[in-house]
Subunit: 227 residues, 2 copies
């Protein structure tokens, strides 16, 4: 792993070959983070890493099986599809001990795209993983295609970050900022049910207005107040 | 009631003497709507109307007991405190028949300001009132103080409107626009649980960032797409 960028922690994207993982990987690699794409299949992870390094024009991203990816990383970002959220947490529980886990899962019920009922994905994760893992939720609402396509540019979408541990949330907010997104601390993990639910609202608005990238932004908090 | 403004429907604010009702009343009166402040106590409603007409510099707002207010109005906006939401609907069910009801109720659990679990306040209202009332949810997240204080100016906060009946939502969106707010159709009444929940996120952000008016805006939908 290239660590000469200095103090930046290694970030692993668990289930990172899906919709959201590649775009986040490009943004963090572009900002100088060592990035690992994790997948249940190492060869699939490696193929995605090769593809992303070509987009990046640099060799900052590597692919590994999920367990190895977690072991090599300080910060793990869970970008699995909603149907395997709990199974992935159960499988990876031991490896996640001592890590910061950023859970990007947003569940909704199809075909009516009904928002989820509590508990939030993040609360489920924190309960399953226990106190040895600091769970944060973030990135559930960012439009995956814009995250990837324009990875060298700021994103016109804000990130609402939830965690019981404000310090853990602040680490995730730093990552979001380095990825070109404004981030706001929105409260404990029980609040994350609302952030998850926003995804179904955005899907609903995309359908109604025939657009692809409806997003949410925060107003009424000036930038100096977020520092 | 002054109807010489033309085609604008009469709007009644049920429980309109609270935090949100007065500001909305001023905005609609300023836009030329005949406005009624409703309250369980007619004298309280009349006192609020007198106060608001003084702010407005005009006599466009009247105060009435809730039942009389509903009977005189085409559009009713429910701005009661969360604790009496279902009791108010139960009391006013017969009078609301045939009306458009805009429910602005956002519930949360104190002291942790936990967001509500489904069903949404709007779904509860639609179920209680039946098909003869067209229920829309809106205005749950607008900062009440800014709505009132700067009532002659556009508000830097968007309104997410939910309804099973898109036509009813569009009527509410027209009202929001006339009140100086951008409005977006966000889906059916089950989606409204998310809009309600946003209020607890905004309260949480106000506390964390020591501000008073954190709000949500929509990006990624251009204005011509909303027409």
């Amino acid at each position: 792993m290239p660590r000469e960028e200095g103090k930046r922690p290694v970030v692993a994207l668990i289930g990172g070959t899906g919709n959201l993982g590649p775009g986040l990987a490009l943004r963090w690699a572009h900002a100088g983070y060592p990035v690992i794409i994790g997948s249940r299949a190492a060869d699939k992870a490696q193929a995605t890493a090769v593809e992303l390094n070509a987009e990046l024009g640099n060799e900052l991203i590597v692919g590994m099986e999920n367990v190895a990816a977690i072991q090599a990383a300080e910060i793990c970002v869970l970008t699995v599809v909603q149907g395997v959220h709990e199974a992935a947490l159960s499988d990876l529980k031991d490896e996640l001990k001592g890590k910061l886990l950023i859970d990007a899962t947003a569940r909704m019920e199809f075909p009516k795209i009904t928002p989820p009922a509590p508990p939030s994905a993040g609360r489920i994760a924190q309960t399953m993983l226990g106190d040895e893992v600091r769970v944060v939720t973030a990135f559930q609402n960012v439009p995956a295609s814009a995250v990837r396509k324009n990875f060298r540019h700021p994103l016109d979408s804000d990130v609402l970050v939830c965690a019981d541990d404000v310090g853990a949330a602040e680490e995730a907010m730093g990552l979001a900022t380095d990825a070109g997104m404004r981030a706001f601390y929105a409260g404990d993990l029980d609040k994350a049910i609302v952030v998850e639910g926003l995804t179904s609202l955005l899907v609903s608005m995309n359908r109604h207005y025939k657009v692809h990238g409806a997003t949410i932004k925060v107003a009424g908090i000036s930038s100096h107040q977020t520092e």
